[in-house]
């Protein structure tokens, strides 16, 4: 696997979030929606790689995008990199969202940086009707609205503080939409409490859903077993591993704590 790629361009999305386009014909060719890449951020203190979801793929150009929110040392170092710089990336990794042609009407539900993996999903999913529900904390945090609008039939944005779009949690939006219409599958990515609630709503409505989990990682490959998450298995539970068995899991199987 070739690890050295190149940063094509960098676009600031808001104060602490940016979109990085990476030139990598290999990853662009083989990457699937919901998969992630593991990035060596450099910087004096960021020893481990950092996982980021594939947000958009341009197969013609041989590039893909990741959306990055600056949180700590690694993302800080990443934000200091420049266009044209070489960048050490492993990927594509993990199991992505299911693209089932039987699913005719789908909804994606994203919260905060959880919206990123949903964009490429919308772009590739064969469904004939696609709804996107995106929730953010506040107006300043809203990202990629126009990019999403282009890839779905209906887009609704909520903010927790009501400063933009529909006031309240994106899960309330979901509940409302599921009451209005029948969906074949819902795809969810965001903070754990949001995913838990969203999965519950889907379960109540008997709609299959998929969630994309986050967990701290070591190898990113399934070898070190650090990225454990609780899943239902044979009537009992077991630890699955986000990097290899996920990051996307069926909402039914995950045990949110």
């Amino acid at each position: 696997m070739n690890l050295v790629h190149r940063i094509g361009s960098i676009k600031r999305l808001n104060e602490d979030t940016f979109l990085m386009t990476i030139e990598s014909p290999e990853i662009a060719a083989s990457g699937k929606p919901g998969q992630f890449v593991n990035v060596r951020c450099g910087g004096p203190d960021a020893y481990l790689r950092r996982p980021f979801s594939i947000c958009r793929i341009d197969r013609d150009r041989g590039t893909f995008d990741i959306g990055v929110q600056v949180r700590g040392k690694g993302t800080q170092a990443l934000s200091a990199m420049g266009e044209g710089d070489p960048i050490d990336i492993m990927g594509p990794l993990g199991r992505g969202f299911s693209l089932d042609s039987n699913d005719r009407r789908i909804a994606v539900v994203g919260g905060g940086i959880g919206v990123f993996p949903l964009l490429q999903l919308l772009r590739e999913h064969p469904a004939s009707e696609k709804l996107a529900l995106l929730g953010f904390r506040t107006r300043d945090q809203v990202v990629m609205e126009e990019d999403f609008r282009k890839e779905c039939h209906e887009l609704s944005i909520s903010t927790d503080d009501g400063s933009y779009g529909v006031p309240g949690f994106v899960t309330s939006l979901l509940e409302k939409k599921l009451n209005e219409k029948q969906f074949d599958r819902v795809f969810i990515c965001g903070p754990a409490p949001m995913m838990k609630r969203a999965a519950e709503i889907c379960k109540q409505k008997n709609i299959p859903c998929e969630v994309s989990l986050e967990e701290r990682m070591g190898c990113g490959l399934g070898a070190c077993l650090v990225c454990a998450c609780k899943v239902r298995m044979n009537g009992d539970w077991d630890y699955a591993h986000v990097c290899k068995d996920g990051p996307v899991f069926s909402g039914d199987s995950v045990i949110f704590e």
């Binding site: 960021a46 020893y47 070591g218 070898a223 070190c224 077993l225 998450c229 290899k244």
Partner: protein, 306 residues
């Protein structure tokens, strides 16, 4: 690839390795994942994920924390059990021309004994007795922190062990040489060190430990100076071979451990950052040897000038 001018092979207690670089237990799974990156036959050996008699679920997440030049892990020996290993993993590993080292833990002396009995009849090349995992409450640290505990377990399993027996030691002790001598006296064929150092990370924002298990084991470059000192001490205290590890990243690091007295090395954490760490370390060692006039690894072992 450079033309091979130097002899990288080593022999540890009857276990012949094509080169002294072994994947460290718990960091390499059962090899499957890394086989996508390089031919596993390039490795001197593979120490597989720590095995127990029954499957183990391991500790609650988060199981990893990043620390300066290192990591803490608290996996807690999650594994499918020794029987599943034999059935599902050995056939895969045997496709490659590399030594298979089974890493075995138990909760009781009896369990250690049974593990060794089972693995002695399995198609593995050596057994590494894990007496040093800091992430489980039973077995490892109970027996592994004292010379008498090690003596007790090793002398018991020795009787039923038909493979080269490597005893893996913990660095969380006052005198690791004493542990090594106990292992030697009880019949170990080699010792390996160091396992991880017990540590902790705290998230000041949430005021909670980062790890689900509160404490975890420290590994990676941060621990290298400690590991190197222990390998130096232990290799002077015993006659059986020492397998050194702890923070090794490059071929020069490998050379340092060999100079300090190790006969082979294991690499773990470095592979998380660079999936080619193991093969690059082998290449780097070869290059170091060529540049510094060594023609065989045996010339390096214990070659420190003090």
């Amino acid at each position: 690839m450079m033309e091979k001018k130097v002899d990288l092979s080593v022999n540890i207690a009857g276990l012949g390795l094509k080169n002294p670089v072994i994947a460290a237990s718990g960091t390499f799974g059962f090899g499957r994942e890394y086989s996508a990156f390089f031919d596993l036959s390039m490795l001197g050996g593979i120490a597989v994920k720590g095995l127990t008699l029954k499957p183990r679920k391991g500790n609650p997440p988060p199981r990893i924390a990043e620390t300066p030049a290192g990591i803490l892990n608290s996996v807690g020996l999650q594994n499918p059990g020794v029987h599943a290993f034999i059935k599902d993993e050995i056939p895969f590993l045997r496709r490659y021309d590399t030594a298979i080292i089974a890493n075995a833990s138990g909760n009781t002396v009896e369990e250690y004994e049974e593990m060794v009995r089972i693995l002695s009849d399995a198609d593995v090349d050596a057994i590494e007795l894990n007496l040093s995992c800091p992430n489980v409450k039973e077995g490892c640290m109970v027996f592994g922190s004292t010379a008498s505990g090690i003596e007790q377990v090793v002398s018991r399993v020795r009787k039923s062990c038909k493979k080269p027996l490597i005893v893996k030691l913990t660095p969380n002790v006052t005198d690791i040489s004493e542990l090594a001598r106990a292992a030697e006296a009880a019949g170990a064929d080699a010792v390996s060190l160091i396992n991880t150092l017990l540590g902790m990370a705290i998230d000041a924002k949430t005021r909670r430990p980062v790890l689900g298990n509160i404490t975890g084991g420290l590994s990676g470059p941060a621990v290298k100076p400690i590991a190197l000192r222990m390998v130096y001490e232990v290799s002077r205290a015993i006659k059986i071979p020492v397998i050194g590890m702890g923070g090794i990243t490059t071929g020069t690091d490998v050379a340092e451990f060999l100079l300090a007295g190790a006969s082979a090395v294991m690499i773990g954490t470095a592979g998380f950052v660079n999936p080619y760490a193991w093969v690059e370390a082998i290449d780097g060692l070869e290059q170091y040897m060529a540049e510094n006039g060594f023609s065989s690894v045996s010339e390096l072992i214990g070659g420190l000038i003090v």
